[in-house]
Symmetry: C2
Subunit: 202 residues, 2 copies
């Protein structure tokens, strides 16, 4: 979605193009409405337009409808992708685990916990949302595949199960404050080292 | 809370005592209101009484207020504790991991994802909610401690981190349908075996 450009070709003032300013206002209005407790169902192009101070036509010039706009807004919450250095598999995994559930926008804390279950109830929304998290998941998959290729990780590794093991603890601790005994700051390193070594006595 | 009894001592009809029937209706009304989207903040003794078809005094005879009633209702969603057999550490862990995020009540799917973040915003609610999950967490802690004592698990095991590793994957898969590539039915065994063995090449 983010490579779509406005079809408006009106003359533009210097500095930031007008369409980009409107896009920003529309994304912000969408996130504000969600953070104030709007469900996806209740969210409407009318309400977003009113909140952003733009006409509905301005939204439809840029987005095909509510769903694509919603997904662009959710993608915005996540910020830019982390960049593994590519040297040590352990260090790269700690970096990626540390980025899990870390949203760049404080509204995420209000929006995400209730929204994800609502997203999941619609197969279309679920697929769109999976597209948002797919690049992050792919980064971790590549680090694990590299570890196997380099002989650092077991050749019979189940990559998807391992990703769930690396992701789950951080996500429940960041989103749900699952266990007050855990330290969110040391957790990425503890998770990676425990998954690497295993807990079985040798 | 569950060992509190009604202070009403009116004569009772045979069969189920009247107070128990009223208690059931009150708990059910609380869960219904939450499943329909009521926030904890919006939930009121008035609304619960009206929905349950009882007077407010009936609720106050049994619960000190909204918070204790809420916690009894949430405890109800979880059902009874799983019972590890106590022979194999691996089998006990698979049983406990399989019970994570499994609610006995279909309303839980609507209630829990949005409620837990709201619970966490109030230190009092957070503490009350931790009391609900503490017995489940303690069961897993005991199995891990037994594994260390029996020499099956590493003596330097970090029990809290290991519990997060065992719990996180199931919770994100059950509550968020995190990754369509994972199989919820085989996941408990896969999680336990991967955490036991570790992913490092040997």
């Amino acid at each position: 979605m983010s490579d779509m450009t406005s079809t408006a070709d009106a003359p533009r003032s210097p500095g930031r193009p007008r369409s980009t300013r409107a896009d920003e206002a529309i994304i912000e209005a969408t996130l504000d409405l969600l953070a104030e407790g709007s469900t996806i169902e209740a969210l409407s192009i009318e309400a977003i337009a009113a909140r952003a101070g733009v006409g509905k036509a301005t939204i439809y010039r840029r987005w095909s409808g509510k769903d694509t706009l919603l997904m662009d807004a959710l993608r915005r919450l996540k910020g830019i992708l982390p960049q593994p250095a590519g040297h040590s598999v352990r260090d790269d995994l700690i970096l990626l685990v540390g980025a899990i559930g870390r949203n760049v926008d404080p509204r995420a804390e209000k929006i995400m916990p209730c929204l994800v279950p609502e997203v999941n109830r619609s197969p279309d929304h679920y697929r769109l949302y999976q597209n948002i998290i797919a690049p992050r998941r792919q980064l971790m998959r590549e680090v694990l595949a590299r570890g196997v290729a380099e002989g650092v990780l077991r050749p019979d590794l189940d990559v998807e199960v391992t990703m769930a093991l690396l992701t789950g603890p951080m996500l429940i601790q960041r989103v749900l404050q699952w266990n007050p005994e855990l330290n969110e700051h040391t957790l990425p390193e503890q998770v990676v080292d425990t998954v690497l070594a295993g807990i079985q006595a040798r």
